[in-house]
């Protein structure tokens, strides 16, 4: 993110908070969904994450990457909500130290969502139809009413970008 935006975020500037949300709202929500598996709880976790981040902004070190900082807040928030919710729906009195099932891949979900959010809309659409909906290039072309060659070129460019954006994840 623009260092100037992060600096303004640090002092609580509302427009900067909005800019940070626009950049990281999707990844935080995806992370929350992967851990909590519930749209409403994930929405709560996302909102709490950004409010906590804003309150803690003065502790953010601008010399370090912002993404891991906000990721850590989001992960902790989602785990807290998961545990509270697990206790509230538990049928016995045993307070189990529960860990959400999606925790192991939380960082990857956060990073992948960050990467796809950086794609141009047309490329993002092709990637979603291919990976999430499981469509072939021919099926995507039919659905979008565009030539197959266009789908192939968009898919090729999109995966090149994703490979670049996610290189650090690939090499982790």
């Amino acid at each position: 993110m623009d260092p100037e935006v992060l600096e303004r975020f640090r002092i609580g500037d509302e427009a900067a908070v909005k800019a940070v949300y626009d950049r990281y709202g999707g990844p935080v929500f995806a992370l929350s969904m992967s851990i909590l598996g519930d749209h409403g709880l994930a929405a709560d976790a996302t909102q709490q994450t950004f409010i906590k981040a804003w309150r803690a902004a003065s502790t953010y070190d601008p010399e370090r990457s912002f993404a891991p900082w906000v990721y850590a807040i989001a992960r902790r928030t989602a785990i807290d909500i998961y545990r509270k919710h697990s206790r509230s729906v538990s049928s016995d009195d045993v307070d189990i130290a529960v860990f959400p099932p999606g925790l192991e891949t939380a960082w990857e979900v956060f990073e992948v969502r960050s990467a796809v959010d950086r794609l141009p809309d047309q490329e993002r659409q092709v990637v979603k139809l291919s990976h999430f909906d499981g469509l072939t290039h021919v099926e995507i072309a039919a659905q979008l009413d565009i030539p197959v060659g266009t789908v192939k070129s968009r898919s090729h460019r999109a995966h090149q970008r994703l490979s670049e954006f996610l290189r650090h994840v690939e090499e982790a």
Partner: protein, 215 residues
């Protein structure tokens, strides 16, 4: 084909000669295929965030970021004769909900992070009717009480009433004699029964009028 092109090809197709990296790339492909990755957050989330943050807009004028965790020097005109504040604390609504009410999100601060709720506000002939529907806010301990405030972007606060919730979580009705357009933020503070007219630094909940409703 360069290593980058090979990786991109593997991400796209799931095949290629990438033995030492294929596990990580397979994981990324798996994440790309899950619904969580693609689900869009509800648009009202950002409104809730900005409502909470917006109440601190005056704080952004503080000289130091560290000062944000402290209550700004209170310039509140509490109990001002200018502000005709009628206080009604009740668990009984004196007015029924109206679809035309403006409803804003109330969010607990780190002092009451389980607290959440809404504030419905409505102009009347004698001021602004404000109804708080809150959950998760602890009853005020003996010797203390909660106080509602409307707050201007210039850092001026006006008390709108007090309550304690020791009888339960029923709705709280408050009144403001000043215009919400001029005082768009609502804060709740925890106060000691020490007779002080100024707001304490213990802010437990915040909310803010939507921008299109505020001046």
């Amino acid at each position: 084909m360069t290593p980058d092109e090979t990786r991109a090809r593997y991400l796209e197709t799931g095949s290629g000669d990438l033995a030492h990296e294929s596990e990580r790339l397979d994981l990324i492909r798996e994440v790309l295929s899950t619904g969580a990755t693609w689900t869009e957050p509800p648009p009202q989330i950002v409104d809730g965030v900005l409502a909470a943050v917006g109440t601190g807009s005056a704080k952004s004028e503080q000289p130091s970021p560290a000062a944000r965790s402290r209550w700004p020097m209170v310039t509140a005109v509490v109990g001002s004769a200018v502000a005709v504040v009628a206080l009604i604390v009740s668990t009984v609504s004196v007015l029924e909900d109206d679809p035309a009410d403006t409803v804003l999100a109330m969010t607990g601060t780190e002092l009451e992070d389980e607290a959440s709720g809404t504030a419905a506000v409505r102009p009347t002939g004698s001021g602004w009717w404000i109804r708080l529907d809150l959950t998760g806010l602890s009853p005020a301990p003996e010797g203390t009480y909660y106080e509602g405030w409307v707050w201007s972007d210039d850092g001026e606060g006006v008390s709108i009433g007090t309550f304690h919730l020791r009888g339960g979580e029923g709705p709280v009705i408050l009144w403001s004699g000043v215009e919400m357009e001029d005082y768009p933020s609502i804060w709740v503070t925890l106060e000691d029964e020490d007779g002080a007219a100024e707001a304490s630094d213990q802010v437990v909940m915040t909310g803010r009028m939507p921008d299109d409703e505020a001046a």
